[in-house]
Amino acid sequence: MSGDGGITIPRGGGGGGIRQPMRGLGIAASGLSAQRARMEAISENIANAETTRGPDGTPYRRKTVSLEQVGFEPLLNQGAAPAPGQEGYGGVRIAGVQEDTSEGPLVYDPGHPDADENGYVRMPNVDIDTEMVDLMDARRVFEANASVFQAIKAMLHRSTQL
Protein backbone atom coordinates (compact mmCIF):
# COMPACT_ATOMS: atom_id res chain seq x y z
CA MET A 1 0.00 0.00 0.00
CA SER A 2 1.20 3.48 -0.65
CA GLY A 3 -0.84 5.97 1.43
CA ASP A 4 0.95 8.19 3.91
CA GLY A 5 3.20 5.82 5.72
CA GLY A 6 3.15 8.23 8.61
CA ILE A 7 5.90 10.73 7.88
CA THR A 8 5.48 13.09 10.79
CA ILE A 9 6.00 16.72 9.87
CA PRO A 10 7.23 18.73 12.84
CA ARG A 11 6.29 22.32 12.02
CA GLY A 12 8.57 25.19 12.88
CA GLY A 13 12.31 25.02 13.35
CA GLY A 14 14.18 24.92 16.58
CA GLY A 15 14.40 28.59 17.37
CA GLY A 16 11.30 30.16 18.81
CA GLY A 17 9.94 29.61 22.27
CA ILE A 18 13.16 28.22 23.65
CA ARG A 19 15.19 30.05 26.22
CA GLN A 20 18.16 31.76 24.67
CA PRO A 21 21.04 29.63 26.03
CA MET A 22 19.20 26.48 25.00
CA ARG A 23 18.44 27.68 21.49
CA GLY A 24 21.42 25.89 20.02
CA LEU A 25 19.95 22.63 21.28
CA GLY A 26 16.69 23.48 19.51
CA ILE A 27 18.51 24.12 16.25
CA ALA A 28 20.36 20.81 16.43
CA ALA A 29 17.10 19.05 17.34
CA SER A 30 15.36 20.56 14.32
CA GLY A 31 18.12 19.13 12.16
CA LEU A 32 17.66 15.72 13.79
CA SER A 33 13.92 15.62 13.09
CA ALA A 34 14.38 16.87 9.53
CA GLN A 35 16.84 14.07 8.78
CA ARG A 36 14.62 11.53 10.52
CA ALA A 37 11.74 12.57 8.24
CA ARG A 38 14.01 12.07 5.23
CA MET A 39 14.90 8.58 6.49
CA GLU A 40 11.21 7.77 6.98
CA ALA A 41 10.44 8.80 3.40
CA ILE A 42 13.35 6.69 2.14
CA SER A 43 12.25 3.62 4.08
CA GLU A 44 8.72 4.04 2.73
CA ASN A 45 10.12 4.25 -0.81
CA ILE A 46 12.19 1.11 -0.33
CA ALA A 47 9.31 -0.76 1.28
CA ASN A 48 7.15 0.09 -1.75
CA ALA A 49 9.80 -0.50 -4.41
CA GLU A 50 7.70 -3.27 -5.94
CA THR A 51 4.21 -1.91 -5.22
CA THR A 52 2.41 -1.84 -8.57
CA ARG A 53 -1.02 -0.94 -7.22
CA GLY A 54 -1.67 1.76 -4.64
CA PRO A 55 -5.08 2.79 -3.22
CA ASP A 56 -5.88 4.63 -6.50
CA GLY A 57 -4.81 1.68 -8.64
CA THR A 58 -1.61 3.29 -9.95
CA PRO A 59 1.96 2.24 -9.12
CA TYR A 60 3.56 3.70 -6.01
CA ARG A 61 5.39 6.98 -6.59
CA ARG A 62 8.63 7.79 -4.86
CA LYS A 63 8.35 10.41 -2.10
CA THR A 64 10.92 13.07 -1.32
CA VAL A 65 11.10 15.44 1.64
CA SER A 66 12.12 19.02 0.97
CA LEU A 67 13.62 21.11 3.74
CA GLU A 68 13.69 24.84 4.21
CA GLN A 69 15.62 27.13 6.45
CA VAL A 70 13.99 29.10 9.24
CA GLY A 71 15.09 32.74 9.30
CA PHE A 72 18.44 32.53 7.57
CA GLU A 73 19.34 36.16 6.87
CA PRO A 74 21.50 36.72 10.00
CA LEU A 75 23.55 33.69 9.06
CA LEU A 76 25.18 35.52 6.19
CA ASN A 77 27.02 37.62 8.76
CA GLN A 78 28.58 34.48 10.19
CA GLY A 79 29.78 34.84 13.72
CA ALA A 80 28.57 38.41 13.98
CA ALA A 81 26.19 39.06 16.82
CA PRO A 82 22.62 39.29 15.54
CA ALA A 83 20.95 42.65 16.01
CA PRO A 84 18.55 42.87 18.96
CA GLY A 85 15.11 41.61 18.05
CA GLN A 86 16.32 39.47 15.17
CA GLU A 87 18.11 36.80 17.17
CA GLY A 88 17.56 34.54 14.26
CA TYR A 89 19.38 31.24 14.02
CA GLY A 90 16.23 29.26 13.50
CA GLY A 91 17.32 25.83 12.37
CA VAL A 92 15.50 23.91 9.67
CA ARG A 93 11.96 22.73 9.00
CA ILE A 94 10.24 20.45 6.59
CA ALA A 95 8.77 22.40 3.68
CA GLY A 96 6.75 19.46 2.39
CA VAL A 97 6.67 15.93 1.07
CA GLN A 98 6.55 15.67 -2.73
CA GLU A 99 5.77 12.80 -5.02
CA ASP A 100 8.19 12.16 -7.83
CA THR A 101 5.93 12.24 -10.90
CA SER A 102 8.29 10.53 -13.34
CA GLU A 103 7.10 7.21 -14.78
CA GLY A 104 8.64 4.00 -13.57
CA PRO A 105 10.00 1.38 -15.94
CA LEU A 106 7.80 -1.02 -17.92
CA VAL A 107 8.58 -4.65 -17.16
CA TYR A 108 7.38 -7.54 -19.31
CA ASP A 109 5.54 -9.95 -17.00
CA PRO A 110 2.35 -11.33 -18.62
CA GLY A 111 1.39 -13.34 -15.54
CA HIS A 112 1.28 -10.28 -13.30
CA PRO A 113 -2.23 -9.22 -12.17
CA ASP A 114 -1.47 -5.59 -13.06
CA ALA A 115 -0.10 -6.35 -16.54
CA ASP A 116 -1.67 -4.46 -19.48
CA GLU A 117 -3.00 -6.22 -22.61
CA ASN A 118 0.53 -6.49 -24.03
CA GLY A 119 1.85 -8.13 -20.85
CA TYR A 120 3.77 -5.11 -19.54
CA VAL A 121 3.64 -3.97 -15.91
CA ARG A 122 4.35 -0.35 -14.91
CA MET A 123 6.70 -0.54 -11.93
CA PRO A 124 7.13 2.17 -9.25
CA ASN A 125 9.72 4.88 -10.02
CA VAL A 126 11.85 3.86 -7.03
CA ASP A 127 15.52 3.24 -7.70
CA ILE A 128 17.06 1.32 -4.81
CA ASP A 129 20.57 2.66 -5.44
CA THR A 130 19.37 6.27 -5.33
CA GLU A 131 17.49 5.56 -2.13
CA MET A 132 20.53 3.97 -0.49
CA VAL A 133 22.72 6.94 -1.38
CA ASP A 134 20.06 9.30 -0.02
CA LEU A 135 19.87 7.20 3.12
CA MET A 136 23.62 7.43 3.66
CA ASP A 137 23.47 11.19 3.23
CA ALA A 138 20.56 11.54 5.66
CA ARG A 139 22.32 9.39 8.21
CA ARG A 140 25.55 11.33 7.95
CA VAL A 141 23.80 14.66 8.45
CA PHE A 142 21.78 13.13 11.30
CA GLU A 143 24.99 12.06 13.05
CA ALA A 144 26.52 15.50 12.55
CA ASN A 145 23.47 17.10 14.16
CA ALA A 146 23.68 14.63 17.04
CA SER A 147 27.33 15.60 17.60
CA VAL A 148 26.42 19.28 17.63
CA PHE A 149 23.64 18.56 20.12
CA GLN A 150 26.04 16.74 22.44
CA ALA A 151 28.65 19.48 22.15
CA ILE A 152 26.16 22.18 23.10
CA LYS A 153 24.85 20.04 25.93
CA ALA A 154 28.40 19.59 27.26
CA MET A 155 29.01 23.33 27.05
CA LEU A 156 25.81 24.12 28.95
CA HIS A 157 26.74 21.55 31.54
CA ARG A 158 30.23 23.00 31.87
CA SER A 159 28.85 26.50 32.35
CA THR A 160 26.79 25.33 35.30
CA GLN A 161 29.97 24.20 37.05
CA LEU A 162 31.74 27.55 37.19
Binding site: G14, G24, A34, E68, F72, G91, V141, A154, L162
Partner: protein, 96 residues
Protein backbone atom coordinates in the same frame (compact mmCIF):
# COMPACT_ATOMS: atom_id res chain seq x y z
CA UNK B 1 40.59 48.03 43.78
CA UNK B 2 37.72 45.66 44.12
CA UNK B 3 36.02 47.03 40.99
CA UNK B 4 38.97 45.80 38.99
CA UNK B 5 38.23 42.26 40.12
CA UNK B 6 34.72 42.23 38.71
CA UNK B 7 34.41 45.48 36.71
CA UNK B 8 33.85 45.86 32.99
CA UNK B 9 37.58 45.79 32.11
CA UNK B 10 38.40 42.86 34.39
CA UNK B 11 39.64 39.43 33.44
CA UNK B 12 36.32 37.99 34.54
CA UNK B 13 34.39 40.13 32.09
CA UNK B 14 36.76 39.37 29.25
CA UNK B 15 36.54 35.64 29.88
CA UNK B 16 32.77 35.81 30.13
CA UNK B 17 32.63 37.58 26.77
CA UNK B 18 34.82 34.79 25.44
CA UNK B 19 32.28 32.21 26.62
CA UNK B 20 29.48 34.20 24.98
CA UNK B 21 31.39 34.37 21.72
CA UNK B 22 32.02 30.62 21.78
CA UNK B 23 28.37 29.78 22.35
CA UNK B 24 27.33 32.17 19.57
CA UNK B 25 29.78 30.51 17.23
CA UNK B 26 28.48 27.05 18.16
CA UNK B 27 24.92 28.21 17.56
CA UNK B 28 25.92 29.34 14.07
CA UNK B 29 27.57 25.95 13.46
CA UNK B 30 24.38 24.22 14.68
CA UNK B 31 22.35 26.21 12.17
CA UNK B 32 24.69 25.47 9.28
CA UNK B 33 24.75 21.74 10.09
CA UNK B 34 20.96 21.62 10.52
CA UNK B 35 20.57 23.29 7.13
CA UNK B 36 23.06 21.11 5.28
CA UNK B 37 21.37 20.46 1.96
CA UNK B 38 18.47 22.92 1.97
CA UNK B 39 18.32 24.55 -1.49
CA UNK B 40 17.70 28.14 -0.39
CA UNK B 41 20.64 27.91 1.97
CA UNK B 42 22.92 26.89 -0.89
CA UNK B 43 21.53 29.75 -2.99
CA UNK B 44 22.08 32.24 -0.20
CA UNK B 45 25.64 31.06 0.17
CA UNK B 46 26.20 31.31 -3.59
CA UNK B 47 24.90 34.85 -3.52
CA UNK B 48 27.10 35.69 -0.57
CA UNK B 49 30.06 34.25 -2.42
CA UNK B 50 29.32 36.30 -5.53
CA UNK B 51 29.16 39.51 -3.54
CA UNK B 52 32.31 38.71 -1.58
CA UNK B 53 30.50 38.46 1.74
CA UNK B 54 31.41 35.57 4.06
CA UNK B 55 30.23 32.13 3.05
CA UNK B 56 31.92 29.41 1.00
CA UNK B 57 29.63 27.27 -1.09
CA UNK B 58 27.43 24.52 0.30
CA UNK B 59 27.82 23.32 3.87
CA UNK B 60 30.99 21.29 4.37
CA UNK B 61 30.10 18.92 7.22
CA UNK B 62 33.69 17.95 8.00
CA UNK B 63 34.74 21.57 8.21
CA UNK B 64 31.85 22.33 10.52
CA UNK B 65 32.74 19.38 12.76
CA UNK B 66 36.34 20.61 13.00
CA UNK B 67 35.18 24.12 13.92
CA UNK B 68 32.83 22.55 16.46
CA UNK B 69 35.67 20.67 18.16
CA UNK B 70 37.72 23.85 18.06
CA UNK B 71 34.99 25.93 19.70
CA UNK B 72 34.42 23.24 22.32
CA UNK B 73 38.07 23.34 23.33
CA UNK B 74 38.06 27.12 23.37
CA UNK B 75 34.97 27.09 25.56
CA UNK B 76 36.43 24.50 27.94
CA UNK B 77 39.70 26.45 28.27
CA UNK B 78 37.92 29.74 28.86
CA UNK B 79 35.64 28.14 31.43
CA UNK B 80 38.62 26.67 33.29
CA UNK B 81 40.39 30.03 33.30
CA UNK B 82 37.26 31.74 34.57
CA UNK B 83 36.97 29.15 37.31
CA UNK B 84 40.59 29.78 38.32
CA UNK B 85 40.05 33.54 38.45
CA UNK B 86 36.97 33.08 40.60
CA UNK B 87 39.02 30.84 42.89
CA UNK B 88 41.69 33.54 43.20
CA UNK B 89 39.13 36.20 44.02
CA UNK B 90 37.53 33.91 46.55
CA UNK B 91 40.80 33.08 48.29
CA UNK B 92 41.83 36.75 48.32
CA UNK B 93 38.65 37.82 50.11
CA UNK B 94 38.65 34.90 52.53
CA UNK B 95 39.51 35.67 56.15
CA UNK B 96 42.49 33.80 57.45
Amino acid sequence: MFTRLVGSDSTVTQLREGLDASSRAVRAIADRVANAGTPEFAQALDKAQATGAPGEGPVDLEKEMVSLADEQLRFETTASLLQKVYQQIRSSVRER
